[in-house]
């Protein structure tokens, strides 16, 4: 197997994991971002801080937390195993969980800021014109916040693609199953396979630059307002 072929499997896996993690973060980020932007409840800033924690915690600490949570004897993991026979550790779904948690703050922060920037009066205008709350959100709030959310989502995708530490702890490094690009780079370097490492590094860098350029084009401030 040459270097290009051995790069294909981890790239495909990385894209799959990052894609799913981004989707999860998009849904959670919009929901939680709206809650933090509009909700009035005690502990709001604490919730924001806790959800932002993955951005500053060492990946190993985060990985450890996830093992405690979804590991075989973790309180969620044990329950899932008993009830449904589901095991998340050392699976690609485990890698999705690790990547989602690490990248969530990027969507959440931009979604909160984007929702806070929407004039409440525009939502009121929707209400007096006969719209339900759901319709106000879909026809006024979301279209006005969309660019900011999308920019954060692309950053989250790039971050998921590069996720290493927590993924290694939760999903391990099983070639073809949980060995993502960044983990494969580590393994290749450890094994002295410089050719493979070079290809993997080049692919990773190229993909991340493309995503960042796209995110830059969508950043708020370039809107048509």
């Amino acid at each position: 197997m040459n270097a290009a072929e051995s790069a294909w499997v981890p790239l495909a896996l990385s894209l799959k994991v990052a894609g799913w993690a981004t989707l999860v973060d998009l849904v959670l980020g919009i929901g939680l971002g709206l809650l933090l932007a509009r909700g009035r409840f005690p502990g709001r800033e604490l919730l924001d801080a806790v959800l932002t924690l993955p951005m500053v915690l060492p990946p190993t600490v985060l990985g450890y937390y996830l093992l405690v949570l979804v590991g075989k004897r973790g309180w969620l993991g044990a329950w899932l195993h008993e009830q449904f026979g589901i095991q998340l550790i050392f699976t690609w779904q485990g890698a999705v969980i690790a990547a989602s948690v690490v990248a969530l703050p990027l969507v959440l922060k931009s979604a909160r800021a984007a929702f806070e920037a929407v004039e409440p009066q525009l939502e009121d205008a929707g209400r007096v014109l006969g719209l339900s709350e759901a319709a106000v959100f879909l026809r006024v709030t979301l279209p006005l916040a969309w660019r900011g959310i999308l920019a954060g989502t692309l950053l989250a995708f790039a971050r998921s693609l590069g996720e290493f530490g927590a993924t290694l702890m939760v999903a391990g490094s099983i070639p073809g199953r949980t060995q993502t690009l960044s983990v494969a780079v580590y393994e290749a370097v450890q094994a002295g396979q410089d050719g493979v490492a070079n290809v993997l590094v080049a692919i990773t860098s190229f993909t991340c630059i493309a995503v960042l350029l796209l995110a830059g084009r969508l950043l708020p401030g370039r809107t048509l307002r």
């Binding site: 009066q121 205008a125 007096v128 014109l129 879909l138 006005l144």
Partner: protein
């Protein structure tokens, strides 16, 4: 038209506490609530529209109860069928003039498309001379065009009454006089009842069939 209003509302922010106590009855087609800025005029109008929930009291329009704290009735803004002209218009920046006008006519979870039509949209595009700018976004419009778009958007849904928040304050003085004439004529022609809030004596002179004064959050008539 008849409004029966007797409400209380306390608004507290970090710095100050504001108490609103508004009580009036009006049978006039044109009611103007007059008072200096900061007197609580906008809060009063928001309460009529259903955008602000009073702490206590009752609001009735043409005999039907819109709000009654005692009976736990609070008809939501979307079901009150009032047109609301916001002070700085609150036009939807992501939609063009035509889509803004069609906004309230389209039910459901999707915005009207750029080709949105219908008798009401066409009628108001012509009546308010907006056809030449129908495909433009609000930020491309002049002050007068913005105001007319907001008015067309409010009137297109055939509201039961029109609530106007300082309708001329965002216009420059030369335009203000002319716009006041035009709005006066247009609203008389449609025959729609209105409640206007203003701090401008000129508005009071022109539209104040029944005038009420609001001072420091208190209106008792």
């Amino acid at each position: 038209m008849s409004f029966e209003v007797d409400i209380r509302k306390t608004v507290a922010s970090d710095r100050r506490r504001f108490e609103l106590r508004v009580r009036f009855r009006s049978q006039a087609r044109r009611t103007v609530i007059y008072g200096p800025s900061g007197a609580g005029k906008t809060l009063t109008l928001q309460a009529l529209a259903g955008l602000l929930v009073p702490d206590a009291g009752r609001i009735a329009f043409d005999g039907s109860v819109l709000f009654d704290a005692g009976a736990h009735v609070a008809v939501p803004a979307r079901d009150r069928r009032f047109g609301y002209l916001f002070q700085d218009y609150a036009l939807f920046p992501h939609l063009d003039v035509r889509q803004n006008i069609a906004f309230g006519l389209q039910r459901g979870w999707r915005n009207p498309g750029r080709a949105a039509g219908g008798a009401a949209v066409e009628r108001w595009l012509d009546a308010l001379a907006l056809r030449p700018v129908a495909a433009q976004r609000p930020h491309q419009l002049s002050g007068g065009q913005r105001q007319r778009t907001a008015l067309a958007r409010a009137l297109a849904s055939e509201p039961r009454a029109l609530l106007l928040d300082e309708p001329f304050s965002a216009l420059d003085p030369a335009l203000r006089e002319r716009t006041r004439d035009e709005l006066d004529r247009l609203l008389a022609q449609i025959g729609i009842p209105l409640v206007m809030i203003t701090h401008d004596p000129e508005d009071l002179a022109r539209f104040g069939e029944h005038t009420l004064q609001l001072v420091d959050g208190v209106l008792d008539a």
